[in-house]
């Protein structure tokens, strides 16, 4: 009952939040700060420069250079249902860091106040307090550790000391390369290999920062971990790399948020996230992606090409991807699970909202390799305006994945009559004891539902927000409480102007 009441309150606050936040994209401002850029364009020298800026060992540079050389021979993938002007990879900055970050601050107290102010304004106070996004933690003393990435660098990570006492390593990946080379060399690129795909290869060559997490055997991470990505500089791509290792019988819940200023020119974001799970480990990875979506005419916005993959190496390991994709002009993202360990489980819960001229091609891959593995996919796609929203998913049962199961539910909701929803499921089953279920629906926001809500006193946009939040309920419930609130508000805000 109590649980229901909290959810109840959340919904009411959503509607309230919609009214308060009358603007559309509320993170569209920028920070005026002195920056240091690498020269425009991509070359071996730029790769060397990024590596030297991060003070990296030789082996890391070699790894990057090998990726770069491979990338030169790759072709841009064109199979996704997204249409955008050709990206000029030489017309981008690959490295941008605030001047004040030239020397990594010793502690959060030494971080440039302008940067601290930026995160405060975003609702991410870089102080060690039990708050995230200005939302009061419902359970009182709930702490969230934050790694804040600004353009190409991590500006600070909170609660490191307290986490270290539990044996948890949480730091920027640039620090991890220096401080924990044995873990990096053992795991980096083992889930998403350098050769994986065009954007993953590019990322491997030029990633500048990101987050690193290691949870030792038997440890339940004492707080939620999160990384907040902010793109600020113009004409600059963000290429971050995240590596999370959950050792035997460990648990961690990790949150990721992202925003960018409103700019007329589209910007590139190509991230790689690798999760490694050993026996009995569990990772919950939640994303609220709110990159600038471009204006209503499709000008500007982030091109979001992301490779996320979890490798359930251990027996009985369990990974859960939850994503709320509301931003970006173009989204190309398929968080996937390799279910290698027997009895391992993968789950994917997704809400993808595309409004105005946004295009989203997103989904997941569930690769069942081990026996008795299970996966579950719940995808909710919402299209409004002139947007195109595609679910693309693969469920693959390999010969040895005996007695494995998958359940896929794929629902699309259309608002208005100028948008599109597409579902592209690929299913491969190579043994005869596994079971795959796929359900898909497409519906329109029903005028009768809206009239019913309005006849009870709700405004038109509140009514849409309520109906859409209902449509997304199963996924919203999979998010940690703090994110569930933020996500509900986002759902409402991203659909503003979609009716009437």
């Amino acid at each position: 009952m109590d649980n229901v009441l909290v959810k109840d309150g959340v919904d009411a606050e959503t509607v309230e939040a919609v009214k308060v936040l009358s603007g559309t994209y509320k993170y569209g401002w920028d920070t005026d700060i002195e920056m240091e850029y690498a020269p425009k364009g991509l070359s071996e020298d730029i790769v060397r420069l990024i590596s030297s800026k991060n003070d990296e060992p030789e082996w890391m540079l070699d790894w990057r250079l090998a990726a770069y050389r491979r990338w030169l021979n790759l072709k841009v993938p064109e199979w996704a249902m997204v249409d955008y002007p050709k990206i000029d990879f030489q017309d981008q900055y690959y490295y941008a860091r605030p001047k004040s970050m030239e020397k990594k601050p010793e502690s959060l107290d030494d971080v440039d106040p302008k940067l601290l102010e930026t995160y405060k304004k975003l609702g991410i106070p870089l102080k060690e307090q039990a708050l995230l996004a200005g939302v009061e933690a419902p359970e009182g003393e709930r702490k969230v550790a934050v790694d804040a990435v600004f353009d190409s660098v991590s500006v600070g990570t909170t609660f490191q000391k307290e986490l270290m006492e539990a044996g948890v390593i949480f730091c920027s990946i640039s620090e991890a390369i220096k401080d924990h080379p044995e873990l990096i060399r053992k795991y980096l690129g083992t889930v998403v290999p350098v050769s994986d795909n065009y954007y993953a290869t590019l990322n491997s060559a030029v990633f500048s920062d990101g987050s690193f997490v290691y949870i030792p055997p038997g440890v339940r991470c004492p707080m939620e971990l999160s990384t907040y990505f902010r793109i600020n500089a113009e004409n600059t791509g963000q290429f971050e790399r995240t590596l999370i290792i959950a050792d035997k019988d460990s648990y961690v819940s990790y949150l990721e948020g992202c925003t960018a200023p409103k700019r007329d020119v589209a910007q590139l974001h190509a991230a790689v996230v690798e999760l490694v799970l050993l026996d009995d480990a569990e990772i919950k990875y939640s994303t609220v992606q709110n990159w600038f979506p471009g204006d209503e005419n499709g000008k500007g916005g982030i091109y979001n090409f992301v490779t996320k993959r979890a490798d359930c190496r251990g027996k009985r390991s369990k990974v859960m991807w939850t994503q709320v994709e509301t931003g970006s002009a173009v989204t190309w993202k398929y968080p996937s699970c390799i279910l290698r360990g027997s009895e391992s489980q993968g789950e994917f819960y997704s809400i993808a909202i595309a409004n105005n001229m946004q295009q989203a091609d997103t989904g997941t891959k569930m690769i069942h390799l081990g026996k008795n593995t299970k996966s579950r996919i719940v995808s909710k796609g919402i299209s409004a305006g002139k947007a195109q929203n595609t679910y693309r998913g693969l469920v693959s049962m390999h010969p040895k994945a005996k007695h494995s199961r998958n359940y896929t539910q794929c629902d699309s909701l259309l608002i208005g009559d100028k948008c599109g929803a597409h579902t592209v499921p690929y299913i491969e089953v190579k043994n005869n004891s596994s079971r795959v279920e796929h359900e898909a629906t497409t519906s329109k926001v029903d005028d009768d539902q809206l009239f019913y809500c309005r006849s009870r006193g709700m405004g038109e946009e509140d009514a849409v927000a309520l109906v859409v939040n209902g449509f997304c309920k199963e996924v919203l419930q999979a998010l940690p409480m703090e994110f569930a609130m933020e996500a509900q508000q986002l759902v409402a805000i991203s659909l503003e102007g979609s009716v009437g």
Binding site: L5, D8, A12, V15, D448, F451, C453, S455, R456, K473
Partner: protein
């Protein structure tokens, strides 16, 4: 309370006239019933009053306490005190019944410039009111009308009415699809809300609902207008003789 004069309505999409000069004057505290054969325009009247899309008012007016209803958005009409209990309540998957109601109550309060009801106040009130209508806690948690039986849907409408405390309540065939016990329960709910400031317009096909909700006046509607008005005995007359005689009488 509600004054409808010479109301003419046609469908927006096609040139089909449905209401052809409806005149009704409903005083505060009274219960009016509208009866009539299928297709006479009863439900259309309720939709037009509450502001549903798809209808075009070509002539006439409707005022709630002097305010021009037809000029207001559906939510503004609701905040002004109009309530329609739907003949077919709409399902909203994933939205908890209680969430829906609390959002509705507070939306109306905001539109009226009143302070919102806190979670505690709301909970206390809804529990008491739900109990009277034999609506259990489980039904309050379920998504709005999803998987509700016919009787549950109608009781839920009455619960919404009780929580929103409207001045002008329109019940569109609330008795349809109900068994005798369910109808009694719904009627009890309605009767509990009767007072000298609240007006009811009960749309029904059958006399039997009016056995439980005693009307002050009964109107017979046919072919888009009110053809006869009388006391409760008019409903009995219809029950015994059908509409044919009345329609014939008029012709």
């Amino acid at each position: 309370m509600l004054e409808i004069s010479n109301l003419h309505v046609q469908l927006e999409e096609e040139d089909k006239k449905i209401l052809k000069g409806v005149n009704l004057f409903l005083e505060a505290g009274k219960v009016h019933a509208i009866m009539g054969p299928n297709g006479s325009g009863k439900s259309t009247l309720s939709y037009v009053l509450s502001g549903k899309d798809g209808y075009q008012v070509t002539d006439g007016s409707a005022h709630l306490e002097g305010k021009d209803l037809l000029d207001m958005k559906p939510e503004e009409r609701a905040a002004a005190g109009l309530f329609l209990a739907f003949q077919y309540p709409v399902e909203i998957p994933g939205v908890g019944n209680m969430t829906f109601l609390r959002t509705a109550v507070n939306s109306q309060r905001k539109l009226r410039g009143e302070s919102e009801m806190t979670a505690g106040e709301f909970l206390k009130e809804i529990r008491a009111k739900a109990k009277d209508l034999k609506i259990d806690a489980e039904m309050l948690k379920r998504p709005v009308n999803v998987g509700f039986s016919g009787g549950e849907k109608k009781r839920n409408e009455i619960l919404q009415m009780a929580m929103l405390e409207p001045k002008m309540c329109i019940l569109d065939e609330t008795d349809s699809g109900l068994d005798v016990d369910a109808m009694k329960l719904v009627a009890q709910g309605v009767n509990a809300l009767r007072d000298e400031k609240r007006t009811f317009l009960v749309i029904t096909h059958y006399q039997r609902l009016l056995d439980h909700i005693k009307p002050d006046l009964v109107h017979i509607m046919a072919n888009g207008s009110i053809i006869k008005t009388g006391g409760p005995e008019l409903a009995l007359e219809v029950e015994n003789n059908g509409y044919a005689e009345l329609l014939g009488e008029r012709a």
